[in-house]
């Protein structure tokens, strides 16, 4: 996967979430976005997922610009998957329907085919026994795995994960990171915003550190974590590793 941000600025009212942000990454399977909360990771991810339009600048993924018209962006979103920090499953549907409904309504599967596919995917994530439960009846880790299954089910080109383990305890985090590795094994391109440095180091090819709306440092995962060049990165990593 190739990513290119050129002079992207994103403002929410007075607040500037990304400030003249440029980033270029080539040939990566899994890209990890790290950095302090409120630094612009989530905004970067939402822009990449076509959920929001930048105030200015251009974003390319695999050589094509993310369109600026709504129909183009809707078409783009259908080819990508997103996993949110708070799972964002639909609380009025059971796990199976959460996965199957987009297949049927967005991706043109017949009702029975969508159920069949959803059951297969849930099986892969060891969620078969929970398929008729609603999100309120599932643990955080199970919910996040359902959300990952939902993102994976339509077979998207790229999956974006926005701090998928930040709301989870260590055991659930492990089970969700395990599920994310499954996505890597399934040869999906991933962009993940995370605070899990260990996971970022071993799973990602490329890491980008974003802070205060700017790109601080980017490079191969091992290099950024072990030999950070910028003092800002060194400070951030020291804080991450000191406790």
């Amino acid at each position: 996967m190739n990513l290119r941000f050129e002079k992207v600025t994103m403002r929410y009212g007075q607040q500037c979430a990304l400030d003249d942000f440029s980033l270029s990454i080539d040939d990566a399977r899994c890209i990890a976005l790290i950095g302090p909360s409120g630094g612009g990771k989530s905004t970067t991810l939402r822009l990449l997922a076509g959920l929001e339009t930048p105030s200015s600048g251009s974003i390319q993924i695999n050589g094509t610009e993310i369109g600026s018209s709504e129909p183009e962006r809707l078409a783009y979103r259908k080819r990508t998957g997103v996993v949110f920090q708070a799972f964002n499953l639909f609380p009025h549907f059971d796990a199976l329907t959460n996965v199957a409904l987009p297949l049927e309504k967005v991706h043109g599967y017949s009702h029975s085919a969508s159920i069949e596919k959803a059951e297969t995917i849930l099986e892969q994530f060891q969620l078969s026994e929970h398929r008729f439960k609603k999100p309120a009846e599932l643990s955080g880790g199970q919910n996040q795995r359902v959300a990952i299954a939902r993102a994976l089910a339509p077979d998207p080109d790229t999956i974006f994960l926005d701090e998928p383990t930040s709301a989870l305890d260590p055991e659930m985090t492990a089970e969700v990171l395990d599920a994310i590795e499954r996505l890597i094994d399934a040869k999906k391109d991933l962009v993940i915003a995370t605070h899990q440095m260990g996971f970022a180091k071993h799973a990602a090819n490329q890491i980008a550190l974003i802070a205060e709306g700017k790109l601080v440092e980017t490079g191969p995962a091992a290099q950024v974590i072990e030999k950070p060049q910028s003092p800002r990165t060194q400070k951030f990593l020291r804080a991450c590793l000191s406790f």
């Binding site: 997922a49 259908k78 499953l89 409904l101 987009p102 309504k105 309120a136 339509p154």
Partner: protein, 263 residues
């Protein structure tokens, strides 16, 4: 028993009060209220005359059924009116949005009594609607529709932003987002308030008696006049309304509880 425990729920209580304790407490509360009422009539030295009222039981039933019918049909139309007003309120076409806004504010800001007079003497006359019952149903539908519209709007606005983001990420169109994400959740969270509004509609329909619609209240007033009695027919009247509203309010409570459990 401390002064504090009189008005605050004791959250540390190990077990809820037993069924017997609750039944006895309920009986005490009911008894206290009955005593007040009894004392009031004792002071008035009122001579009860139930037998003459009892003779008109068929008339009460007829009125009660009329109220039930008017309320039911009004309820259906008020949902329709309320849903349309809500859709208009969400419209991107501004005149439509303001139309819905003005409608809701006007209805909520004026007494039903005034609305009944204006609708009956001005609008219904101008539109040449002869059937009083039709007029009554129109008035109640328009009146209750404004409140239902507010309830639905609150329900829709209560659907979290994260849900909308999620629907967008999945690739749902605006229509699909409304159909599969917003509407079911908004309707579910609105149900207790909608049930409450249904009870209000039934009670408010009593005001239709002022334009001589032969519903429950008007029939009770007529019985009072026929029998030269002053109070007797008001008691069957109150009981008749309670028979409709109590189950609905109970349903509203149950829905509320279930909702709290689900989210």
């Amino acid at each position: 028993m401390t002064p504090r425990s009189l008005f605050f729920d004791d959250e540390s209580a190990s077990k809820p009060p037993s069924a017997l304790a609750r039944a006895a407490s309920f009986a005490i509360a009911l008894l206290a209220l009955s005593l007040c009422l009894f004392a009031a009539f004792y002071v008035l030295q009122y001579e009860w005359n139930w037998s003459s009222v009892f003779r008109y039981k068929a008339k009460f039933l007829k009125g009660w059924l009329a109220t039930l019918g008017i309320s039911s049909i009004s309820l259906i139309f008020s949902f329709l009116v309320g849903a349309i007003a809500t859709l208009c309120y969400r419209s991107r076409f501004l005149p439509l949005k303001y139309l819905a806004n003005i409608y809701v504010e006007l209805i909520r800001g004026t007494p039903l009594l005034v609305q009944i007079y204006i609708f009956f003497y001005v609008i219904a006359n101008a539109a040449d609607i002869q059937n009083r019952y039709l007029v009554g149903i129109c008035i109640m539908a328009i009146f209750s529709g404004a409140y239902i519209s507010e309830i639905l709007r609150a329900g829709i606005e209560g659907v979290g932003r994260s849900q909308l983001l999620s629907a967008k990420a999945i690739g749902f169109s605006e229509y699909q987002t409304f159909r599969y994400v917003i509407a079911p959740q908004a309707l579910r969270s609105s149900l207790p308030a909608l049930a409450g509004q249904t009870a209000n509609l039934i009670k408010d329909s009593s005001l239709l008696s002022i334009i001589a619609i032969s519903e429950f209240t008007l029939n009770a007033q007529e019985v009072n006049a026929f029998t030269y009695s002053s109070f007797e027919s008001f008691f069957p009247l109150a009981i008749g309304y309670l028979a409709l509203t109590l189950p609905i309010m109970r349903l509203s409570r149950i829905l509320e509880k279930r909702l709290r459990f689900e989210t």
